[in-house]
């Protein structure tokens, strides 16, 4: 008998647990190394020195305090939007509509923030967070509901819902909720400086990064150490088995979608309250889509989402240096991300193939 791959069902033997942990660390890292090599070949083919490119990626993303702040700031929204993919993935759903939850969450936060102008900043911010999470959660929860009650494929529906969300967002920002003073850049009424989410002390990184870390930690505990998380993973492993075991599959599907959407909605709130100060079209920046990449590379593990988001943020941070120093086009880092995504997906098939990572007692 073998345990289902990636089921996370821990063996009783500590050394076996270590082996599994090593497997889920070594394989993605090796895949990243292969991706870097492939990218290096590509760079060499277009006449650039790969070592120089790597050195600039390191310099732009990770070599100095400035570079690290740049990287973390960019990683902040990605952590939250990645959770929008990672949480439903526990229940076996592939949700790619985080962008829609993000923009509607941001819009809600802007509206709540403006309405709560008189309240204390703390109360207003809590209301903005809750409002954004509720709306974002409901949006992705709707995709989960379509899946459970109507059998609509959640990947397609969540993607299509994104277009609807953006259309609604534009309608409200350019119509009923528009600040008349925003002439050439239609925006909602500003939430005001008092309600803005500030920066971490001594750093140019906003608190949204910490929101992301906390959300990840909570999700990790939820998924790994609670009955709810266990049930979720059983649904993800085999829906029929879950039904047979009497689990409330529909409830679990909806809730995982809701939590994922809430994370993306929170990302929208952070963008409004820490960066833009109001909701406008700049919010539609593709963070929801970038989160898909992050979650897949992290194999939908809520804790692994953090380092992966930082890596992707760092690559993004180095984009500028690559353009400015080597005259490379901006698509360069997209090529790197694309290669990394392909290689890591291909490496999925390697899990369970190396005996060194397998629990010992099973082979006795």
């Amino acid at each position: 008998m073998t345990l289902p791959v990636g089921s996370g069902v821990a063996s009783a033997f500590p050394s076996d647990r270590l082996r599994r942990a090593a497997e889920s660390f070594v394989i993605p890292v090796a895949a990243l190394v292969v991706a870097m090599l492939l990218f290096g070949v590509f760079m060499a083919l277009i006449g650039k020195n790969p070592l120089e490119v790597y050195a600039l990626i390191y310099k732009g993303g990770f070599a100095s305090g400035f570079a690290w702040q740049n990287t973390l700031q960019r990683a902040a929204p990605l952590i939250l939007t990645a959770l929008c993919v990672a949480l439903p993935a526990q229940a076996g759903l592939i949700i790619i509509g985080g962008e829609g939850a993000l923009v509607l969450g941001g819009l809600t936060a802007a509206v709540v923030g403006h309405a709560a102008a008189g309240a204390s900043p703390l109360m207003a911010q809590v209301a903005m967070v809750l409002g954004a999470m509720l709306v974002g959660g409901a949006w992705i929860g709707f995709a989960g509901g379509l899946r459970h009650f109507r059998g609509v494929n959640e990947t397609i529906s969540s993607l299509l819902l994104t277009y609807i969300a953006i259309a609604l967002f534009n309608h409200f920002v350019e119509g009923p909720l528009r600040d008349p003073a925003s002439l050439n850049k239609p925006s909602t009424q500003p939430i005001g400086d008092a309600l803005m989410v500030g920066h971490l002390p001594g750093m140019d990184v906003h608190w949204g990064f910490v929101y992301g870390l906390l959300f990840c930690a909570v999700c990790y505990v939820l998924v790994r150490y609670t009955v709810f998380g266990f049930a979720l993973r059983i649904v993800g492993g085999n829906v029929r088995a879950a039904r047979l075991a009497g689990l409330r599959v529909g409830w679990l599907v909806l809730l995982s979608c809701f939590l994922g959407g809430a994370a993306a909605g929170l990302a929208g709130m952070v963008e409004v309250a820490a960066v833009h100060g109001s909701a406008n079209a700049s919010l539609i920046a593709g963070y929801g889509y970038a989160g898909i990449l992050v979650s897949f590379i992290a194999r939908h593990n809520p804790i692994a989402v953090i380092p992966v988001a930082i890596l992707v943020g760092g690559i993004g941070a180095s984009n500028g240096l690559l353009q400015r120093r080597l005259d490379l086009p901006d698509a360069t880092v997209l090529v790197l991300q694309g290669i990394a995504f392909m290689v890591i997906l291909a490496a999925e098939t390697l899990y369970g193939r190396f005996r060194v990572f397998q629990p010992r007692e099973l082979h006795r």
């Binding site: 310099k59 732009g60 400035f66 740049n70 700031q73 960019r74 534009n170 350019e174 002439l183 050439n184 850049k185 239609p186 140019d204 963008e271 960066v275 833009h276 100060g277 406008n280 079209a281 700049s282 920046a285 593709g286 993004g316 941070a317 984009n319 500028g320 240096l321 353009q323 400015r324 120093r325 086009p329 901006d330």
Partner: protein
Amino acid sequence: MPAKHLNATRRDIIKTLAAVGVGTALGPGLVSRAFSADIVVGVIYVGPKDDYGYNQAQAQAAAQIKKMPGVKVVEEEKVPETVDVQKTMASMIEQDGAVLLFPTSFGYFDPHMIKMAEKYPKVRFAHCGGLWKEGLPKNAGSYFGYIDECQYLNGIAAGHTTKSKKLGFVAAKPIPQVLRNINAFTLGAKSVKPDITTTVIFTGDWAMPVKEAESANSLIDQGIDVMTMHVDSPKVVVETCERRGIYVCGYHANQSALAPRAYLTGAEWNWITPYTEHVKAVMEGRPMNNFLRGGLKEGYVKPSPYGKAVSEGARKNADAVKAKMVKGDFVIFKGPLKDNTGKTVIASGTQQMQTDVVLEQMNYLVEGVVGKV
């Protein structure tokens, strides 16, 4: 080794300059930066530099100031209007030593550029299109051009060329800048044939190639025979007009290469004027000019050279109006002027000069435009 010197790349030269810098008064702090010997100017684009449109117009000016002695230009394209652009600005300052930045997209202005200008008071920030006013940082400013003058000239060329008397306009969003162009184009055309109409389609965003193509095709199907546009990249609309056999007036940059038959003329930016002013101010140590505006007269905008299809009469008419504009005695928006719902928007006897701030708040479409704000 003369051969090696001949082969020296820009990078080698920069390295040498940086090395020389160690021994000079520049000090070690600056040497780690890439370009320590020159004035470093950073230019940031929201889209690709070769979009035949908004970004290309900026990139053309950047390419020209690159040739000025003592100026190094660093560029970054496709930078979104998020924290990304703040980081790009900071990175150009901290990692490249930029002392003058051109963040060229409208959405970069508030809050991103303002925030960075407060953080780096010694660096100058010159923004395209924003409304700088007293109270904002003195090291920030905005430049923009009265391109409606060129759209008016576009309208004259279109008015002479059209047979169906139906013109088309593919626009992004119903915001004041765009409405002003639609109205100027229509007024220009109506000055030739008063019963001309312009049908407008708003696509909803600045770069929507598919929707732009659909809009252009649908306008052509309605019998429109001359079109212009206000979107970030006019490429798709211009190419569609060429293919469908109607005429087109360009916008932002010169698109005649895309439509050798169909291209009449175009409303182009001439950003080298404000770029030069800002770079020279830095070199000469003059304080920054925070608010730069200009039209044909000041050299901020220019019409594209006429295409083959523009008649002699049309050229004469447009050139005469252009000469008046250059002299500064032509007013586009003057009363009596009605909007397309019949309401008087400018009373008889009132003239709104280009500098009039009322024009920056335009919220109507003039009589003759088919469409709704």
